[in-house]
């Protein structure tokens, strides 16, 4: 029987890297965005990603801004689906860093949490983020994820009050996803002031890795985020480039600048 309290592979990996003093980098790509899209994963790993978030596109991404909405629409128009994306991952080359799927709860419920988590597992995915599944609704998925050895990472927001934040930190697996600002995903000119306060509040209650996401788009912002958190998630800044036609090599160069910024801090 699985020990449902034991962290899975994603968390072990991130903790080990964090404990060497390294700033963690988790870039995001929308699955199925282009033919041969899994080559982005290899490029991300080569640029020094510590984990990679793979979006399973949903028709109604209610927490995403224009860039990831457009990426989702583009991927779906190309015929992307959970099944095909997971098949691509199973067939593609292992990028050598943990993969974390992210999607909306409707796609998890479609085949049911158990079948969904088992499918992730078969495709070599080790973690999961579901932005419209708050902690008080997470029981059924948390159990299925634990049983399948998938780390279900929960999101914390600047609006989350303290006792609830402690519960999120306690029940999150892999890392705690700190949402830097009150808003949707999308590039921003500066790191939100709420980011520092939120990460400080999270860290008071847990030693689990804390990744800051939403809006982080430049090396400077990554460097600043690193002062507060264990690392960053970079989504819209990646996907805007992909939508503008940037290939895996271009993204490797872009992410290398973020890697460097994190290493300097």
């Amino acid at each position: 029987m699985t020990d449902i309290l034991a962290p899975g592979a994603v968390e072990r990996h991130l903790r080990a890297r964090r404990d060497t003093g390294r700033g963690l980098l988790m870039p995001y790509v929308t699955g199925g965005i282009a033919p041969g899209w899994t080559r982005y994963l290899e490029a991300f790993a080569e640029a020094g990603a510590d984990a990679i978030e793979v979006g399973l596109p949903f028709s109604d991404p209610t927490l995403d801004g224009a860039t990831i909405q457009q990426a989702s629409e583009t991927a779906l128009a190309r015929g992307a689906s959970t099944r095909r994306i997971l098949a691509d991952l199973a067939e593609g080359r292992d990028p050598g860093v943990p993969l974390v799927a992210s999607t909306y709860y409707n796609l998890v419920l479609h085949d049911g949490p158990e079948a969904f988590c088992a499918a992730l597992r078969r495709a070599g995915v080790g973690g999961l983020i579901v932005p419209d599944l708050p902690v008080h609704e997470a029981d059924e998925l948390a159990d299925a994820a634990a049983a399948a050895g998938i780390d279900l990472a929960l999101l914390a927001s600047p609006a989350t009050p303290q006792p609830r934040l402690a519960e999120i930190s306690r029940r999150s697996r892999g890392f705690v996803y700190a949402v830097s600002l009150m808003g949707t995903t999308g590039e921003r000119a500066a790191l939100a002031a709420s980011a520092a306060e939120l990460t400080a509040r999270i860290r008071r209650g847990t030693d689990r890795p804390v990744l800051l996401g939403f809006g982080i788009s430049t090396p400077d912002q990554a460097r600043e985020a690193r002062r507060h958190a264990d690392g960053v998630v970079v989504g819209a800044a990646v996907m805007r480039r992909v939508l503008d036609g940037a290939g895996p090599d271009d993204l490797r160069d872009f992410l290398a600048t973020l890697r460097q910024a994190l290493d300097q801090e």
């Binding site: 629409e73 909306y104 409707n106 419920l109 599944l133 927001s157």
Partner: protein, 401 residues
């Protein structure tokens, strides 16, 4: 009838359409599937609503607005000529006669008062037909609040009159250009906007959808339809209670408000959906816009874009309480086509002198189709909620009639 489970004898069960269970559950549906950034805001709305509802001062203020501004109570009109033609006794609950022309004002006045009580300065709303947007703009003007209304580009085209009305009332109308450019996308965009505006803005959801407490709260604000109709039926019908209670269902707010007045009676409850937006009749379990309910989806779990001539029914799902009532067999859900709805609108205009909203015409189309058959035997008494008036649909009707 396709896809519709057989009638179970309606059981006037205690607790049906009462307060939802723990965490906003109606059976296995409902809940608060909101992004973490909105969870606290939902909790605040829930707390404020519970307090307000227990406060005679709030209840009195709302009753006064409903009476003096919205024109309640609305009449129960016997549809005499049409009844004779159909062989049933049809009564219309006239929400079309409210100020702004649809039942949406009932909910909006409640939520706007609540927002003011919570110290919010602005209302955010989504709208399909524009009726909820117009009601929101109206209530905002009345209470000195701002209003920002999200509306799909496609709906802006077909409901131009309401767009102008909203702007006239001082609201900002934001066109939504994503997805099917209708109600579903306007709702997504309103939610996204609320995430960044929870400090000073209240999201005034327009139907019995969304995260807890909205499905319950909106039903309670619409309950006035059913409560009034219950009293009016008791006074006017020989049997006291109609045999059938019928309403159209987009998200399901006018139906929920109507059904709430009759859940504990033997009346058969019928929700009528658009053929192309039949969440209750053809949806499958899912989560969208904050709640677990029934939604139209493809084989991959993507939400299917609905299609209805009635912009207010162009929603791919149904409120969680309707999903629950369906499972219980307490209500049943049928569908009618665009053509049937347009035909019903024309027939009501010519027999009763009432031009209904195309949404409401769906409920009537079901009555017309089933009257005298097994679903609706000759001689039955039918209460139908006429949720709105047809002025907003004139340009659509002009092309078809």
């Amino acid at each position: 009838m396709r896809d519709v489970p057989p009638w179970r004898e309606p059981v006037p069960a205690a607790g049906v359409m009462g307060e939802p269970r723990e965490r906003g559950r109606f059976g296995g549906y409902g809940g608060r599937y909101a992004p973490e950034s909105l969870v606290e805001a939902c909790r605040e709305v829930d707390e404020a609503f519970r307090e307000a509802r227990a406060d005679p001062g709030f209840r009195g203020a709302l009753a006064e607005l409903l009476a003096l501004h919205a024109g309640r109570p609305t009449p129960l009109t016997p549809a005499r000529r049409l009844s004779r033609e159909l062989g049933v006794r049809l009564y219309l609950k006239r929400e079309d006669l409210t100020h702004t022309g649809s039942h949406k004002i009932n909910n909006v006045l409640g939520q706007a008062l609540l927002a003011a009580r919570m110290g919010r300065r602005r209302l955010i709303a989504e709208t399909g037909a524009g009726q909820h947007g117009v009601a929101t703009a109206t209530a905002a003007a009345l209470l000195g609040l701002e209003a920002t209304v999200f509306m799909g580009e496609r709906d802006i085209e077909r409901q131009g009159l309401n767009v102008f009305r909203m702007r006239m009332l001082g609201a900002e109308v934001v066109p939504v250009t994503t997805g099917s450019r209708t109600l579903k996308d306007a709702t997504s965009e309103a939610m996204r906007h609320w995430v960044g505006a929870t400090v000073d803005s209240h999201y005034c959801v327009g139907s019995v959808i969304g995260p807890d407490p909205y499905p319950w709260m909106v039903r309670e604000f619409q309950r006035v339809i059913g409560d009034e109709a219950r009293g009016q039926c008791a006074a006017e019908l020989r049997t006291g209670v109609p045999d059938h209670v019928v309403a159209c269902v987009g998200g399901g707010s006018n139906a929920a408000g109507t059904f709430a007045g009759f859940a504990d009676t033997p009346a058969r409850l019928v929700g009528v959906e658009a053929e192309g937006g039949a969440g209750a009749a053809r949806g499958r379990l899912g989560v969208l816009h904050g709640c677990r309910s029934l939604f139209l989806q493809d084989d991959d779990g993507q939400i299917v874009e609905p299609h209805s001539i009635a912009a207010g029914l162009d929603y791919p799902g149904v409120g969680p309480e309707h999903a629950h009532l369906r499972d219980l067999g307490r209500a049943r859900y049928a569908t009618v086509t665009d053509e049937e709805a347009v035909g019903a609108a024309v027939r009501l205009a010519r027999t009763e002198g009432i031009v209904p909203a195309l949404e409401s015409a769906h409920a009537l189309a079901w009555v017309i189709r089933e009257a005298g058959g097994g679903e609706l035997p000759a001689g039955s008494t039918v209460l139908m909620t006429l949720s709105g008036r047809g002025d907003k649909d004139i340009s659509t009707l002009k092309e078809l009639v």
